[in-house]
């Protein structure tokens, strides 16, 4: 087997050195009747070529986003990632290193984490960001728990514009930890009255902007209302590129900002791995979950970086930790940081503008179609339309013709009367031809 360096001779010599005559003597603590006496009924080892054939065959049964006009979003977005990013994250020293617990030989990881934290804090308009969470949804769950710890209350209010998977993660976690959740109805037109839902038991309000239907939300009034009642505002985003063009949640008064960073540096990957961004105010840092990287000096006074404030974490605090989390999204974080470094402020703004412009052009074209209504008044790169007929069926029909039209709202909100709603994302990868093809196909399908 190509990955195993020991030869048969090595094995017998080594067993002799260890002082046993058979490998199973080293497994003697496994109860004899539980030790497997034959190989399990699974295929036997294969060469690289054969494995490549098998997996390529599976891959070929999937339709890749870049193979045609592609408008699927709702929490994950198709963007162009510069070739440099994927090359760099495959450097052995990044790819095959561990969590930087030995900082003297992990400054590469630590320094990019410090850069990442600084970038995320700047983007979100917050004081401090952690070294990432698994993804936006689990980060949102952790943010709610953090708000409960800070406010010593345990009721969360979730906007009806929050991605329902994110809502489900919060509800699952809350149900299991005896916390209360109030979820507002799916809010297609951003008309919900979140402020009315805040009472003196409310620990936090969770609002997504752009929301799951694409509408940009004004967070300032909600932040003010939260603060007046002693609650925190948790601002969520699933499209981080929007922060290049939209006022940051921090400037709008958010206390915790959490979101999905996949759009920068990371592929769609059928849903994971992604990278959760998590930022807050300085006064809450010791209540924060997740790893933090901090600056220090070495024995010669040279600047360096270490993981810090680990007294919040499970390996030190065990059952008293702020979270059970024991990983970040390491390599996805690196991909984010490198892509963001390539973009810089100038590039990010341009990217965001192109995204917005493309979405505006598509919205204008769609609005001219009979039987189509664009529901959003203000949006970034994603819109929702009401159309004539069942959006799921139309999406399936268009997929058959090579066009990925978007996400039927009913897939995310089944049985909520949204069968005729389609969520359409539009990024820099979409061309005029793509948009024309979508509009023509929708027209024909209705």
């Amino acid at each position: 087997m190509r990955y195993l360096p020991l030869s048969a001779d090595d094995r017998s010599d080594m067993l002799a050195r260890v002082g046993v005559d058979h490998i199973d003597k080293l497994f003697a603590d496994i109860p004899r009747d539980k030790l497997l006496d034959k190989v399990l009924p699974l295929p036997l080892s294969k060469g690289e070529l054969e494995v490549e054939r098998m997996l390529s065959k599976m891959a070929a049964r999937n339709k890749a986003a870049s193979s045609g006009p592609f408008f699927v979003g709702a929490g994950a977005y198709k963007h162009h990632v510069p070739a440099t990013v994927d090359h760099l994250i495959q450097r052995s020293e990044f790819l095959t290193s561990y969590t930087p617990y030995q900082p003297e030989i992990a400054q590469g990881t630590l320094q990019y984490l410090f850069e990442f934290q600084t970038q995320v804090a700047a983007l979100t308009g917050m004081d401090v960001a952690n070294a990432s969470m698994y993804d936006g949804s689990t980060g949102t769950g952790e943010a709610v728990l953090m708000a409960h710890r800070i406010t010593k209350r345990n009721k969360a209010v979730l906007s009806g514009g929050l991605h329902p998977h994110y809502g489900d993660v919060v509800r699952t976690l809350s149900e299991m930890s005896n916390a209360e959740v109030v979820t507002l109805k799916p809010d297609l037109r951003a008309k919900e009255d979140l402020i009315a839902a805040i009472d003196d038991q409310t620990s936090c309000v969770v609002v997504q902007s752009p929301d799951v239907f694409g509408t940009l939300r004004d967070l300032k009034p909600i932040a003010d209302a939260c603060h007046a009642k002693g609650a925190l505002l948790i601002a969520v985003f699933t499209e981080v590129v929007s922060l290049g063009l939209v006022t940051s949640p921090g400037e709008q008064g958010a206390d915790i900002v959490v979101g999905e960073g996949q759009s920068i540096g990371n592929a769609l990957n059928f849903g994971g791995p992604y990278v959760g961004l998590f930022a807050t105010k300085t006064q809450y840092v010791r209540n924060m979950p997740g790893r933090l990287c901090g600056e220090t000096v070495d024995a010669e006074g040279k600047r360096g970086f270490v993981l810090t404030l680990s007294t919040r974490e499970q390996h030190i605090r065990r059952e008293k930790a702020t979270s059970n989390i024991c990983t970040n999204s390491g390599l996805c974080t690196l991909a984010f940081t490198i892509h963001m470094t390539l973009l810089g402020e100038k590039g990010l703004r341009s990217l965001a503008e192109v995204n917005h412009a493309n979405a505006v052009m598509l919205a204008d074209k769609l609005a001219k179609l009979p039987h189509v209504e664009v529901v959003n008044e203000q949006f970034f790169n994603e819109i929702s339309i009401r159309l004539k007929g069942d959006a799921t069926k139309i999406v399936d029909r268009l997929a058959h013709h090579g066009i990925m039209a978007g996400v039927p709202a009913a897939r995310l909100f089944p049985d909520q009367g949204l069968d005729d709603v389609l969520i359409i994302a539009n990024t820099e990868v979409n061309t005029d031809e793509d948009r024309d093809a979508l509009v023509a196909a929708l027209k024909e399908a209705m």
Binding site: D29, S45, A64, E93, Y134, T172, V306, L342, E353, A357
Partner: protein, 525 residues
């Protein structure tokens, strides 16, 4: 000595003297500033065409203030991150014996496969008819996982080991709620040797943690478990092989004791890599176990993630698995994504762990690893991992101290610091001296049940020659420590990119992001 061109072929006499360089660089080791110190907000490494003319539809929410994000051109970016990478130690750099973390070889075929556009460039919410291959891959991996573990079902979506623990305990809690016993069954038994994530996970969903002391031989005593377990017991969380590198030989009796009390057996599968193909957790009474695909099945650790932690479940817990899950239908594979739909198929999911369907990129890599090894190769890998650890044990047992005696271990060998007593050298110092010798240190000070723990896991990826050199190096170091060559240790590392870092200072006044330096005049005040 000069060659025929008159070029010296031997170093000059004073070549060993250390000269401080003008730059602070040391050949391949270059001082590298932060991007904030070398980039500028006007610089960019991507060329993006100007957008077509359009009316903005941002409401009043357009950003007005600068963000403060520096950019670098492409060559500058490349050099910056390559230089950073050169300050890191990876598995490909050398032996990485980090106990409990399983730093085995990461085959590059897996990276190549994960990047096939059919896997990397598909969206989680595309019509299911367009992702049948992705569902097939998940289903195939699930089949391998349940077969290797002898369990009934697997929840694929947890994003990492600790997330898997959470998923497993939630399934247990859901089962207890279904039995109507949530008011009484609140205790989770956790041995002292457990990973910190175990008690942290239990506490996260409001279970009470009750510690189980480890007996003198480093394992858990079923009699103690029987005494501690009762009508209040929800579960035990047991790592097997445990963090002392030992197989819990009374695991069946422990499982029986917990089951008899009406509780469930959660196994922390962090060390499953020692027994793949040798024993099946399902045969040992396990009800739920997470599998770290990034340990046992070689998906790269990536400097701290991403991981992936599918949870295998027994028949009793399978109905409570979270959404999404895959079911086979006549039209093909169906991903069941919401609870109402799941209920139609007889399931009682406790909820959802994460958006979408889990760590697809990691699934591809893990399956690529499994297909390469096959059932035979996976068994061989477990045997080699265990053999290598024992070989290290045999090579060091006379110099270093084994807290539970010199007897066979599993895939990792645990030493304590008794042998360093009165040398003035601590476990930490010893670890830092290993860095100077070109090794990544072992896991230090974990598990907590022995003093100054040194947990060494060489993995199956090491050749005999590599192990011989490693053993010889550790022997040299051990002898030096005992001989009183203290400074070699207490000041180490001397040759790493950085000397020892001040962690206390970092925690006392945390600096968690870069801030622009004050203007000179202001700073002078």
């Amino acid at each position: 000595m000069l060659n025929r061109q008159g070029r010296p072929t031997t170093p000059a006499n004073d070549a060993t003297a250390v000269h401080k360089t003008f730059t602070g660089n040391r050949a391949l080791q270059q001082i590298e500033p932060l991007i904030f110190e070398i980039g500028s907000t006007d610089q960019t490494g991507v060329d993006i065409d100007a957008p077509a003319p359009h009316h903005k539809k941002l409401g009043g929410l357009e950003r007005k203030n600068p963000i403060g994000l520096p950019g670098l051109s492409e060559p500058e970016t490349m050099r910056h991150y390559v230089r950073l990478s050169q300050k890191n130690y990876g598995i490909d750099s050398g032996l990485f014996p980090l106990g409990s973390c399983t730093m085995k070889h990461n085959p590059r075929l897996n990276e190549k496969m994960a990047r096939l556009p059919g896997f990397s460039d598909v969206h989680p919410l595309q019509p299911q008819s367009t992702v049948q291959g992705a569902l097939e891959l998940m289903d195939t991996l699930a089949h391998w996982l349940v077969t290797l573990t002898g369990m009934d079902a697997v929840a694929m979506s947890p994003k990492a080991g600790a997330h898997g623990e959470l998923c497993g305990l939630m399934a247990i809690k859901a089962a207890i709620i279904a039995r109507g016993e949530e008011a009484t069954r609140k205790v989770v038994l956790v041995p002292d040797s457990a990973h910190g994530t175990n008690p942290a996970t239990a506490a996260l969903i409001h279970f009470e943690v009750r510690s189980v002391p480890v007996r003198e031989d480093g394992t858990v005593d079923p009699k103690v478990v029987a005494e501690l377990a009762g009508p209040d017991t929800a579960a035990i969380m047991l790592t097997n092989p445990n963090t002392c590198g030992l197989f819990e030989k009374d695991v069946v009796a422990i499982a029986d004791a917990v089951h008899k009390a009406g509780g469930y057996f959660y196994a922390d599968g962090a060390n499953f890599n020692a027994i793949v193909g040798k024993a099946r957790p399902g045969d040992l009474g396990v009800d739920a176990m997470h599998i770290n695909l990034h340990k046992t099945f070689s998906t790269p650790h990536g400097g701290g993630g991403p991981g992936s932690g599918p949870v295998v479940l027994s028949e009793r817990l399978a109905p409570f698995a979270p959404v999404p899950f895959i079911r086979k239908t006549e039209e093909g594979l169906q991903l069941v994504e919401d609870e109402a739909e799941a209920t139609k198929h007889g399931a009682h999911p406790f909820g959802r762990m994460t958006a979408f369907h889990g760590q697809m990129g990691m699934y591809v890599r893990a399956l690529s690893y499994m297909l390469s090894h096959g059932a035979d190769g996976l068994k061989q890998a477990s045997e080699d991992a265990v053999l290598n650890a024992n070989y290290v044990r045999a090579g060091l047992a006379d110099l270093m101290s084994l807290p539970f005696g010199n007897k066979p271990c599993m895939h990792e060998v645990l030493f304590d610091d008794t042998w360093l007593k009165d040398t003035g050298v601590s476990t930490l110092d010893f670890a830092k001296a290993m860095i100077d010798e070109g090794y990544h240190p072992m896991t230090m000070y974990f598990p907590l049940v022995v003093h100054g723990a040194m947990l060494i896991e060489p993995t199956e990826s090491e050749s005999r020659a590599s192990l011989d050199l490693f053993i010889a190096t550790l022997r040299d170091l051990a002898i030096a420590a005992k001989r009183g060559d203290t400074e070699r240790f207490t000041g180490a590392p001397y040759h790493a990119p950085m000397r020892r870092l001040d962690e206390t200072r970092a925690a006392r006044s945390p600096v968690l992001k870069w801030t622009p330096p004050l203007p000179i005049l202001e700073a002078a005040e």
